[in-house]
Amino acid sequence: MWKFFHRLASPPHFYRLAATLIPWLMFPGLLLLAWGSYNGLFVAPPDYQQGDAYRIIYVHVPAAYLSMMAYMFMAIGGGIGLIWRMKLAHAVAAAAAPIGAAFTFLALATGSIWGRPMWGTWWEWGDPRLTSELILLFLYFGYMALRSSIDDIAKADKASAVLALVGVVNVVIVHYSVEWWSSLHQGQTILKKGGPAMDPEMLQPLLAMILGFTLIFGALLARRVRTEVLYRERRTRWVRKMVLAPEGGR
């Protein structure tokens, strides 16, 4: 078991493993998304309160969940990199940031579009989840800005890891403080997205979408980590050997 982790952390091994892994994540993920979308859009019955507008949750909820998960990858990767000086963990953290920012943006956009027919406005400050998600997007921007403004990769890794870890504490505080704040100012009743008890015909597509998005996230992450590993290892012997090999690498 230990040997497996040790090999996984070795850059050339990871580089090859990730290449074979990507299609195995990508295609089941796409299949699940297709199945989930079809059932979510056409098969699941309309919600008795929100009508057909609730179908937006089939993309909104997975996006919001991935925006959090990508941040966790960033922070945990940074933490492992800081404590055990594992370079691969830093590469994972660096790769997770732009994907997380993209999904955070998607969660914000779909949440806002959902709000238009439901609240009658594109943006509702009173909704704690939208506000928290916006602050999360700013955290991603700060993280990426810090990373891109430090030229030395090793230094950028460590500095951004500290920021990501501080940010995790912040995400929790933001969650609770925004909840408190919106409870003070709640003028209109805000509908809950999805009730507590969902019809299985509604729930199954949602679970499929969440799983599908997670697999797609894995594929995107693997692809980006490969690039990071390749760039960081550009002066090593294995990269040289791979590039000069007659069949060529990828």
Binding site: A53, V59, H60, L106, A109, P117, L220, R223, V239, L244
Partner: protein, 53 residues
């Protein structure tokens, strides 16, 4: 037959799904392009070094 218009909500739902598709495709495409660029830069540098020797 299914109702594509979904009452008055169709436009919102379809825009959300379309946006999702665009973002997923764009993320994957950008990752691919970046990988190719990094690979090509490294290839050019290593081959140039090789020829000099």
């Amino acid at each position: 037959m299914v109702d594509i218009g979904m009452g008055n909500y169709g436009i919102y739902v379809w825009v959300c799904f379309g946006l999702t598709l665009i973002i997923v495709v764009l993320s994957d495409w950008r990752a691919r392009v970046r990988h190719k660029r990094v690979y090509r830069d490294i290839e050019v540098r290593i081959k140039a070094l090789e020829e000099r020797e």
